[in-house]
């Protein structure tokens, strides 16, 4: 199932990236918040990947080219502002996507109706931090702007139609742009104007083409399972 893999991989990969903050977040509350968000995403990933096959095999034994996540979610964490920019872009997208899936009544409606309520908190979290950092100190403003700018070129791919789901992609994109623009402007940040995808980045995560850091992330994520098949504790 193409769609289950695409949506499941988005959730799995972002969950792993957020998990990398454990032990490194700027304050304890954020350590806990990012881990909580990662846990929500992992729960969604488990349900979605189980629709496509064996969740552990899919997560731990696939090669990089077999992953169907968008390139945005595989981008390294960077500084905290960079992570927040990624969270803002992705949570607004995922909420809109799940809202449509929940309303559509297809295979994913049950999960989407449940997960959309969780994602609403992820969006709330990202929005508040974008406002605090963007409209904060000169330093925090600069960092937030840098994160927002650097990740912009990965946002176009979010609206590439995924086979197997009934989504009104143009309206998903329009709503996403309106929400993100509103938050960035309120945060005194400049909305990036560059292209949402670039030739060199391809924007083709859904086709299995990934950016360089993804291989290293997978190596770490899969290492234990591949070295000790069937290990548990």
């Amino acid at each position: 199932m193409t769609a289950a893999l695409a949506l499941g991989d988005d959730a799995l990969v972002l969950s792993h990236r957020l998990g990398e903050w454990a032990g490194h977040a700027p304050v304890l509350e954020e350590e806990v918040a990012l881990a909580n968000i990662a846990l929500d995403l992992l729960g969604q990933a488990r349900v979605l990947l189980s629709l496509a096959g064996d969740e552990d095999e899919l997560a731990f034994l696939r090669e990089e080219r077999a992953f169907r996540n968008v390139q945005l979610v595989e981008q390294p964490n960077g500084d905290f502002a960079h992570t927040i920019a990624r969270q803002l872009y992705f949570s607004v997208y995922q909420r809109g996507l799940y809202e449509q899936l929940a309303a559509g009544g297809g295979d994913f409606a049950g999960l989407a109706a449940k997960a959309v309520k969780e994602v609403a908190y992820h969006q709330d979290h990202a929005t508040h931090w974008t406002l605090r950092l963007g409209d904060g100190t000169e330093e925090s403003h600069q960092r937030m702007q840098r994160g927002v700018d650097a990740l912009w070129r990965f946002t176009g791919e979010l609206f590439q139609p995924v086979e197997g789901v009934e989504i009104d992609w143009p309206s998903l994109h329009t709503d996403w742009l309106a929400t993100v623009t509103g938050v960035l402007q309120q945060a005194t940040l400049t909305v990036p104007t560059g292209p949402g995808s670039g030739a060199w980045t391809a924007g083709a995560g859904r086709q299995g083409i990934h950016t360089e850091p993804f291989g290293r992330m997978l190596a770490e994520m899969q290492h234990l399972h591949r070295s000790h098949p069937g290990a548990s504790w």
Partner: protein, 168 residues
């Protein structure tokens, strides 16, 4: 040891009496996660359970605990299945469950009709009462706390931090 065919009500009572592994003051019935039981044959039952959050790790312990309590009451074949729809909401927590949460030091979730009318974040202007001193002068420290279902707040009157079971 119970012999013979148990009524579904009895199975439901037993399964519902299992304490939540993370909030042991609440039973699964009070938490509202028990979605139904079916007696398929004598000694063979199916229990339907819904997770609070999709990734809630407590669901596995809940399933194991339900199996155990039913085995202890003479039902050898127990299958606990997880259902996602309709999605669980904090409105499914019973009135008694809310009372126990507050007594345990966790501010209970506010009903949705008093808030947004649907799932997700509730405007912060709505007061959450401190479970320690009862003051409504409390502030949000973090939207996420010790478990996925809670937010961390602090009371401006008694200065104590406390968990708030956030609305979902």
């Amino acid at each position: 040891m119970v012999t013979g065919t148990l009524l579904e009500e009895e199975v439901r009572r037993l399964a519902g009496s299992v304490p939540d592994p993370e909030l042991p003051v609440l039973t699964l019935e009070e938490l509202g996660v028990l979605r139904g039981v079916e007696v398929l044959a004598p000694g063979k039952v199916t229990v339907r359970l819904t997770p609070t959050y999709t990734g809630c790790p407590a669901i596995e312990t809940m399933s194991a605990d339900i199996e155990q309590v039913l085995h202890d009451h003479g039902i050898p074949e127990v299958s606990v299945v997880t259902v996602l729809a309709p999605a669980w909401s904090t409105d499914d927590i019973s009135a008694e469950g809310r009372r126990k949460l507050a007594e345990f030091g966790i501010a209970p979730p506010r009903p949705h009709d008093a808030a947004t009318g649907s799932g997700g974040p509730v405007p912060l202007t709505l007061a959450v009462r401190c479970p320690h001193c009862g003051s409504t002068d409390t502030e949000l420290l973090s939207r996420f706390s010790s478990t996925a279902c809670k937010a961390l707040r602090r009371c401006a009157s008694c200065r104590e931090p406390f968990d708030h079971f956030k609305e979902l």
